[in-house]
């Protein structure tokens, strides 16, 4: 028997499972919150900052990541305010400028309303979402992969940059990585990077409903859990 508590998300009264995160609860109820580093079954670390929401406490609004925010009785959360949209758009813009060669990142950019990118494009292969590190450590307990270095030198790697013999070669790290699928318009060479915008049509349909799930094509890219459920895929 699970304990339930009541909170309000975007004006809707929600019955949430005690101990669940605001992100999981919202997604369950069809309220769409973009995310990247969140993955079902793995711990939530709140690093991509895309899932931010406004948590209204005592009349003041605190911007916080919904994946790390545990539901509480009487909590009031807003996921799609003007402020949140602007912040999310800017974060998504930073991501797509950094790593445009990923379908997930391009989808997220369009979903978050990025229409032009004000920074010179780079062509990085990793956005440090940490899914691979967490799946290797938490699910397989192999601890073969980890974060190495600090700040601008932060990267994912093996100890001493050599694949250890305790790496099970399960390839889950590759499967779960949001960077492995190239954009719909094809892989971009250095110097040709741009904002794809191919799914702009999808966005028109969802523009007025950015807070509710319409099973948009965009969810495929960031492996949206709700999308996966609805599509009946494993």
């Amino acid at each position: 028997m699970q304990e339930h508590i009541a909170l309000t998300i975007d004006g809707a009264r929600i019955h949430a499972v005690k101990g669940a995160s605001v992100l999981d609860t919202a997604m369950e109820y069809g309220i769409c919150i973009p995310h990247l580093c969140h993955y079902p079954g793995l711990s939530d670390i709140g690093v991509c900052r895309l899932c931010i929401v406004e948590n209204i406490v005592g009349g003041k609004s605190k911007v916080t990541t919904s994946c790390t925010l545990t539901v509480a009785e009487g909590m009031v959360v807003r996921t799609d305010t003007e402020k949140i949209r602007r912040l999310r758009r800017n974060i998504a813009e930073l991501l797509v400028a950094k790593a445009p060669n990923s379908r997930a990142i391009q989808d997220i950019a369009v979903r978050c309303g990025v229409t032009n990118v004000r920074y010179p494009f780079q062509n990085d292969k990793c956005v440090l979402c940490g899914r691979c590190v967490r799946v290797c450590g938490e699910m397989w307990q192999a601890h073969a992969l980890g974060f190495i270095g600090r700040g601008k030198d932060r990267r994912v790697g093996f100890p001493f940059d050599r694949k250890p013999d305790y790496c099970k070669t399960c390839n889950t790290c590759i499967d779960i990585c949001p960077m492995t699928i190239t954009p719909c318009i094809g892989p971009m060479k250095k110097g040709e990077e741009r904002l794809c915008g191919g799914c702009e049509g999808q966005l028109t349909m969802t523009k007025n409903f950015t807070d509710s799930c319409v099973w948009c094509k965009l969810g495929e890219g960031f492996q949206c859990t709700r999308h996966v459920q609805m599509a009946g895929r494993p």
Partner: protein, 160 residues
């Protein structure tokens, strides 16, 4: 790398993952850097995954992953030192020894490091050589200081 020294450091710390940072500090002090073999031994003894030991060793500036030169020159680049001309110290060392911060000279004599504030701000620019603080440095004084280290080494190698 001395196994005895490593054993001494690890003594009494079996299965104590919370000691990781302190243990690596001891390793750094004993060997002048953190060798890969030490990391492997620490991982085993403390019960911390190797990737985690590696992560901590890379995260903190106090740990050097490559052996350092015989003499370490640290230039303070704190705000107060910066406005009093600290960047010129780096110019001086770069010009004279040809190395950037983090690098060691070919002859393994000097390693240059920069630090983001030593707390001697009223006396900037500050340069530390082998643990000794030198206040109110100028490029000229730095040149003389480096020269004195060369001279001292010559004396030692050629007998007194």
């Amino acid at each position: 790398m001395s196994n005895e020294m490593l054993e001494r450091i690890l003594k009494g710390r079996r299965s104590q993952p919370q000691q990781l940072v302190e243990v690596l500090q001891d390793v750094q002090e004993a060997f002048g850097y953190v060798p890969q073999e030490a990391m492997t031994a620490v991982s085993r003894e403390l019960g911390v995954p190797l990737i985690e030991v590696s992560r901590v060793a890379h995260f903190y500036k106090a740990f050097s992953l490559r052996p350092r030169g015989r003499h370490v020159v640290t230039v303070c680049m704190g705000t107060a030192c910066h406005v009093r001309g600290a960047p010129r110290m780096l110019d001086q060392v770069k010009g004279e020894l040809g190395i950037e911060p983090g690098q060691t000279t070919q002859d393994r004599m000097f390693t240059l490091e920069r630090v983001n504030c030593l707390g001697a701000c009223a006396l900037g620019p500050v340069v530390v050589l082998d643990g000794e603080y030198h206040p109110k440095m100028t490029p000229n004084k730095l040149r003389e200081l480096l020269a004195s280290v060369y001279a001292a080494e010559k004396e030692v190698t050629h007998g007194s």
